[in-house]
Symmetry: C2
Subunit: 440 residues, 2 copies
């Protein structure tokens, strides 16, 4: 999910070592990862689940080491003037470490995607076909300053049979180094390769670039963070990338909306959690209900601390002009990730759809309506990963949709769209059995 973390990819890590052949070092890491992944590919679920429990236990046992390393990161962050919200995301304490470990144990309860037969048949010529889920191999993650992502990514990769190469934010470098160490050791105690979880943080930005160019050794790269980080990875990478997380999310209140349904959904979508990609950023209101809905909605949002950036009609309907500011095109384009909301009155459903087509990032949009035809048009014509009818946009989440843990929310159309869980970290293999079949 998109976070408030400042993208730190373009800067060089403070602790970067003396000149070395970074590309060769990262290639060596990726080669070890590939070999390790080969061993894991044929491991059964029991082995992987036991390892997940062992990783969880090891993290909790290493609480003191992790907290001490995290204190270094926090001190560096404070010294460099890091914002309070970012410091909070970076901070680990014994309670948070227990929660992170519990997430690994939760992963052990999920079914193993590896081995699932996706389709299969016997052809008229007698060939027996199966298309079976197999691990990707080596997954690369490039992310920002949240050390919990280090553990989540390692756990999801392990459960889906993959090795992972991690490039975390330099702001969390000390925490991540200890965490990767602990996980890697715990894997070896389970007689699994420690190279299943490796970090390339030591090689700074150059290491990240080398990872993006390791096509053939790394099977997929998942950037997780702000828009700038994701753009950089997409531009630089020759390894296939799954784009995640940028959510310019819309809620459209239709002419026929039940306003007592619309208000709580709007409040939930905007304020239940602010710095996340499935939070609402723009409200579109059908003109026929604007007079009735907007004054109440604006007052409710103001009570919750939300600043409304409205078009002229919205401004005119605000009960207190202190609660609203005038919107520009930039507001329609912005993923605020803050207590701000762009609001526009639209003529009809067509204008709402046109606005969404123009400005949406293709993550999630919601319609509030009682009209069947409107809901069906909205569902058919909105080209986003998730479309909600009379429900909060905050439900676009692997956990909420019952997929289990997620590694991110894909906003691209290739391979994965929407929440990416374990199955999205696998590929397939065709297995064909014959009895001497040749092609005529």
């Amino acid at each position: 999910m998109t976070t408030l973390d400042a993208p730190d990819l373009p800067t060089t890590a403070a602790a970067e070592p003396a000149p070395v052949d970074v590309a060769a070092q990262v290639e060596a890491v990726a080669t070890r990862a590939k070999r390790a992944a080969r061993r894991l590919a044929t491991a059964n679920r029991a082995t992987k689940d036991a390892a997940l429990h062992a990783l969880a236990d090891a993290l909790v046992a290493a609480t003191d080491r992790i907290v001490a390393a995290n204190a270094e990161d926090l001190a560096r962050g404070r010294a460099s003037g890091m914002a309070a919200g970012l410091l909070d995301r970076l901070a680990l304490d014994p309670q948070r470490i227990v929660a992170i470990a519990d997430a690994l144990r939760e992963l052990a309860t999920l079914p193993d995607p590896v081995g699932e037969v996706v389709r299969g048949s016997t052809l008229p010529n007698g060939l027996r076909l199966r298309q079976v889920r197999v691990p990707m191999g080596v997954v690369g993650m490039i992310y920002e300053a949240r050390p919990n992502v280090t553990v989540d990514a390692a756990g999801l990769a392990l459960k889906s049979g993959n090795a992972v190469i991690l490039r975390g934010g330099s702001a969390a470098a000390s925490s991540n180094a200890v965490i990767v160490d602990v996980l890697s050791e715990a894997l070896e105690h389970q007689h699994l390769p420690g190279a299943l979880v490796q970090s390339i943080d030591a090689w700074g930005r150059e290491g990240a670039v080398a990872l993006m160019r390791a096509r053939g050794l790394v099977d997929v790269l998942v950037p997780r963070g702000g828009a700038e980080l994701i753009r950089t990875v997409v531009r630089e990478s020759t390894v296939p990338v799954i784009e995640t997380g940028v959510g310019n999310v819309h809620v459209y209140v239709d002419e026929s909306a039940d306003l007592s349904v619309a208000l709580p959904i709007l409040l939930n979508a905007k304020t239940q959690r602010v710095g996340v990609c499935n939070a609402a950023e723009t409200l579109l209101v059908h003109q026929a209900v604007a007079d009735e809905f907007l004054p109440v909605a604006i007052a409710m949002l103001a009570d919750a601390g939300v600043t409304v950036h409205g078009d002229a009609e919205t401004l005119a309907l605000a009960p207190d002009e202190a609660d609203v500011v005038a919107a520009t095109d930039e507001d329609w384009a912005t993923e605020y990730l803050s207590l701000d909301l762009a609001v526009r009155v639209v003529e009809d459903l067509d204008e709402a759809l046109e606005h969404i087509r123009t400005w949406s990032s293709g993550h999630t949009e919601a319609i509030i309506t009682r009209d069947l035809a409107s809901s069906e048009r909205f569902v058919a014509e909105v080209d986003s990963a998730a479309v909600m009818v009379n429900a909060s946009t905050r439900f676009t989440d692997g956990g909420q949709l019952g997929l289990g843990a997620e590694i991110g929310i894909s906003t691209q159309k290739l391979h994965a769209r929407g929440p990416m869980g374990l199955a999205e970290l696998t590929t397939t293999k065709w297995i064909v059995h014959g009895d001497g079949h040749v092609r005529p």
Copy 2:
């Protein structure tokens, strides 16, 4: 499928026009494609199938125009010394045009992937979920001098609800221009947007580069051709790419193989069609059966005109040394696409697996065996799109595997692996229905 066509991407098309803002032109093409795709996305199967028949009829009706344009391409090809095999792939005559049109009619018989519910459920909180197949939107194709690919790509895109932007080889420019014209007109007669099928051949290499950079307008790019073309597209593209076609394909004859099964499979895999990605390029033979198998196999291959590039043990077993040449590492790496075969005697299954890990392009490998444990290890450990047991590698083909027509054979792990049919040209959308649901 990989063809023998020479990659012509790095050269500039002869007919390139005077300086224009190519990026802006291609962006305009892609914007028209996107708008056209939006209209097609909600078209039902009957509409799309009727259009496929109309396209087929229009091509046959335009036979004279197409053949005349093709004659220009052939004349240019002969003048520039194009090889006979390439000229043959480029050539169109009335009979070939009928076959191309029939392939479109065949597409109309396949089920529509759009609208398929991939998974769905009702959550404990009452939210109703469906994950539904929807078209990608705009598909870009970059390919070489085979005008039939122009029609295939247009048909597959149409049936799967997508617009297509085509960049064909400059050697087929005249044929492609007429074909795209005919298809586009026929679509408009069917009250569908002509912009569903567009070519950017007029803008040469610059146009291809602009297409590769049209992220946000083009949803996926499929390069189809030789290794060099595919490498270029992977390196230059910011649009997500699906890599197709390079097949360094292995056949392994196990210790327990039924040699009367192994011989016809080997002959079929190597010689049934030579210039295709699923043809065998390397034979690995277990040492225990080499003495018995290789003399017969080499003689059989020699009769079929195949030159064996063998390791020392293979050379020693050749009944006539005129049929064999010494292999180097380059042979293990080569996709010959010709009547050549690299042959190596291996100590055991482990050495065969290690050879495949080192040299395979991950397309298709086959084992010939009677031993269950060997077949299971081979299937589990070979990391390729398709693994055959006692069957010819030539079966890795959308038509042969019952998927219907294919747009290429993916050798990457993301999104599609193996033959890519209609379903692989779609993505999915989550549709969530609630009754005022908010996230607690």
